[in-house]
């Protein structure tokens, strides 16, 4: 943020970030995201880094782009995809990046097109080949999976190099659902932002909408009424419960333990219906708006909602212990898809995946927002880093979420749910929430009720590069199970 003082010392902001990441402090800083923008009427191209500095919090560092940008990938592997994205979207040159193949824009896009800089003219279709990394050697073969998968799943391509059943190497080729979402925000009215944010990743749409709204509120110094903060907390924790319950059920289904899988899908549906009765929308779409929430909790339905959450938590806890204590399940979950702590930390992994590999991060606790400020609650972590650990963390978190919802319901006092704030100003700000998948951050900038740029740091974009490390060394038949235990969003990553 303090660009002026850094310039007087003639230290490039990128170098400053590099120093933070290499870290002489108690522990090194963590790279949260890197993104580009073209600021103001002068259309000044800049790169922004957000780093999480221990003992300080999030820090935003801005580097004007005047030539090639030094790559940070050599310092932290977590930077690799962010820099490839910059290269695709803005055409910025990245000096010293080991792999600048296309990421967001596949080879059917003209190579000189950079959507965040260029206008929206109809484009020619190109047809360049994509080169997968190749594993050589006798007996090595490749298995190609996707983009169209066998289940009701989003599209993405997985290229396995296998020796017999054993996976030697996995390469991801994603971004099939890339929809140019960040560009849709450009020029959009501030109040239309939640509509776009809700369509970034449909099963955690409420987290996206709340992160967007918080960023706008932070940028405008708007204060959200207490009742709205509590309603947001309830929605966020409900979304987490539903995600974890569905995931644990799906994991059970993936090892052919079908009855608990059906139970979990039923418990999730109970919560969807309870949520719909209390707020009018199954996935809480249209609820979060800048300044608060658009819909109040229906007091007539609040008691029944309280009961539904209590019952769902109770039933899920029992079903989860039946799943997790079953020897046939344990023998599949245990030691499958181990993500080692060091790899997780190097790749800046967040959320459940981090916490199951002993990387203790949780935005709710580390950077409290809204009604989480002043709360204390358990953040379960484990250090095994396998499918079992990820399942156990999900199970433990579901109980915590249920308790947070019940406490918030009891604290709800009558009052306003939305505040007006001055919008005829220039603004810039950001905010993060802990979505069911991990740290989700929105950065916004604009003027006079219009957005100039909105950047979305999605936990899935951060976590996908870690999946191949967890898969290598396993049999290919365990891939669906390991992938499910990560449960990353394709659309959230691809945007």
């Amino acid at each position: 943020m303090s660009t002026a003082s850094q310039k007087s010392q003639r230290v490039s902001p990128t170098i400053e970030v590099a120093r933070l990441l290499e870290g002489a402090q108690p522990s090194p800083a963590r790279l949260v995201c890197i993104f580009g923008s073209v600021d103001g009427l002068q259309r000044r191209p800049v790169v922004r880094y957000i780093v999480d500095v221990p003992g300080e919090g999030y820090r935003v560092v801005t580097e004007p782009v005047e030539g090639p940008i030094p790559s940070l990938t050599g310092i932290t592997a977590a930077a690799a995809w962010y820099e490839r994205e910059l290269h695709d979207q803005f055409g910025f040159e990245i000096a010293g990046h080991p792999d600048l193949r296309r990421l967001l824009l596949h080879e059917n896009w003209p190579g000189n097109f950079h959507p965040m800089l260029d206008s929206n003219e109809p484009l020619n279709w190109a047809d360049e080949p994509y080169t997968f990394l190749k594993v050589d050697g006798e007996g090595v073969s490749e298995v190609a999976v996707g983009p169209v998968h066998a289940g009701v799943i989003e599209p993405g391509h997985f290229r396995f190099s296998v020796m017999g059943d054993n996976v030697l190497f996995l390469e991801l080729r994603h971004f099939y659902t890339h929809k140019g979402t960040e560009k849709l925000f450009q020029g959009a009215p501030l109040m239309n932002g939640p509509i776009i944010a809700e369509s970034v990743s449909g099963d955690n749409c409420f987290s996206h909408a709340v992160a967007y709204c918080q960023a706008v509120e932070q940028a405008h110094a708007a204060l959200v009424p207490r009742r709205a903060e509590l309603i947001r907390l309830i929605g966020l924790e409900l979304e987490r419960m539903m995600a974890h319950i569905a995931d644990v059920g799906a994991l059970s289904g993936d090892v052919a333990f079908a009855v608990p899988a059906a139970y979990c899908s039923r418990i999730k549906e109970d919560l969807l219906q309870a949520g719909s009765r209390v707020i009018g929308s199954r996935y809480w779409r249209g609820v979060a708006v800048p300044g608060g929430v658009a819909r109040d909790i229906n007091p007539a339905a609040a008691e029944a909602f309280h009961q539904a959450v209590t019952q769902a938590a109770d039933e899920f806890a029992k079903m989860a212990s039946i799943i997790i204590e079953r020897p046939s399940v344990q023998s599949r979950f245990e030691t499958a898809g181990v993500l080692r702590r060091q790899v997780a930390a190097d790749l800046g992994v967040v959320g459940i995946v981090a916490r199951a590999s002993d990387v203790d991060l949780d935005v709710r606790r580390d950077h409290p927002y809204g009604a989480y400020q002043g709360l204390t609650f358990d953040v379960p972590t484990l250090h095994y880093g396998d499918v079992l650990a990820r399942a156990r963390v999900r199970i433990a978190e579901t109980a915590v979420s249920a308790q947070l919802i019940l406490n918030a319901l009891e604290q709800l006092q009558p009052g306003p749910i939305r505040t007006e704030f001055r919008t005829d100003v220039a603004f810039e700000g950001f905010s993060a929430v802990e979505s069911a998948r991990g740290e989700l951050l929105y950065w916004v900038r604009g003027e006079n009720r219009r957005l100039e740029r909105c950047y979305i740091k999605s936990p899935s974009f951060q976590n996908w590069p870690a999946l191949p490390h967890a898969v290598a060394g396993n049999v290919i038949a365990d891939f669906p199970l390991i992938n499910k235990s990560f449960n990353l969003s394709y659309s959230g990553c691809d945007r």
């Binding site: 824009l105 596949h106 059917n108 896009w109 959507p115 929206n120 484009l123 983009p147 169209v148 066998a150 289940g151 009701v152 799943i153 989003e154 599209p155 971004f175 099939y176 659902t177 890339h178 929809k179 140019g180 979402t181 560009k183 849709l184 239309n192 509509i195 776009i196 369509s199 970034v200 990743s201 449909g202 099963d203 749409c205 569905a246 009855v259 608990p260 059906a262 139970y263 899908s265 039923r266 999730k268 549906e269 969807l272 219906q273 719909s276 009018g280 929308s281 199954r282 996935y283 779409r285 249209g286 658009a294 039946i322 204590e325 079953r326 969003s489 394709y490 659309s491 959230g492």
Partner: protein, 269 residues
């Protein structure tokens, strides 16, 4: 322990929602419904001004000004409900699922407070023939052409014990080569366009295609994006459209059965 699971399943109350309570219902979808009797020029203007996707707009047909409502573009944001509460309410029922694209559009003559039918729906013999051939067993292949995963979440819910799609003889298959129906979600992205065409071509005839959700029907909020080719029918032929953002499980079931012309047999009025 396994006996505990079985005992629980036997003791668990019946969750299945009867077909007549599902078909045509739209609770929780946030779709609006219009009462032409209370529509005025002011309300028509107010609701079309606040609509973020142009699902609602005032159009001129044969010299008459009409309010056009396109459910295929509606994302259920609820702004029209706030702008015109006298004439707009949340739809509890919505039969426009699994219909032709034009049938998702309604026109209202707000001066004369009446709905205007611009075109009478024509029976499609080919489709009747397909449903006769397919009978009641239908294999569905779901295809995500670039969706946000909202529609997938609701499609997944179709197999839970409340909706149990299999009771209608419909189930999801792993390959387009096994499928009678392709259920396509999302706007077709540039990066997915080729895969969408190839998936369609891999299906054996006779085949049906259903476009799901605002994005599948019209491109939704992504229609204007540089990274999106367009709605599903821009890339492959579509037989039926299911609106919603996302459509609820009951709208999905209504839509799938409507494409097969089944709802009247299953739930007579």
């Amino acid at each position: 322990m396994i006996f505990d699971v079985i005992r629980r399943s036997l003791q668990a109350p019946q969750r299945l929602i009867p077909a007549e309570e599902l078909l045509g219902h739209a609770a929780g979808s946030r779709m609006p419904e219009f009462d032409p009797a209370h529509l005025t020029r002011e309300i028509a203007r107010a609701v079309s001004d606040v609509c973020p996707t142009a699902a609602l707009k005032i159009v001129e047909v044969n010299g008459r000004q009409l309010l056009r409502m396109d459910y295929g573009e509606c994302i259920g944001c609820g702004r029209c409900l706030e702008a015109g509460p006298q004439a707009v309410s949340v739809a509890k029922k919505l039969l426009r699922c699994g219909v032709r694209r034009q049938e998702l559009v309604q026109h209202f003559d707000f001066e004369n407070h009446a709905e205007v039918i611009l075109e009478a729906p024509s029976p499609e013999i080919a489709k009747e023939e397909i449903s006769r051939l397919l009978g009641r067993a239908l294999n569905v292949r779901q295809l995500d052409a670039g969706s946000c995963n909202g529609c997938e979440s609701e499609i997944t819910a179709l197999t839970n014990p409340y909706y149990d799609l299999e009771r209608f003889g419909i189930h999801f298959v792993a390959s387009p080569k096994h499928a009678d129906m392709l259920l396509v979600t999302g706007p077709v992205t540039r990066n997915m366009a080729v895969a969408v065409k190839q998936t369609y071509e891999a299906m054996p005839a006779p085949k049906l295609v259903v476009a799901v959700g605002a994005c599948g029907c019209s491109g939704g909020i992504f229609a204007v994006s540089h990274a999106v080719v367009g709605p599903v029918d821009k890339v492959i032929p579509v037989d039926g459209y299911i609106p919603g953002c996302p459509p609820t499980p009951s709208m999905l079931i209504t839509g799938i059965l409507q494409v097969l012309r089944k709802p009247r047999e299953l739930a007579p009025d």
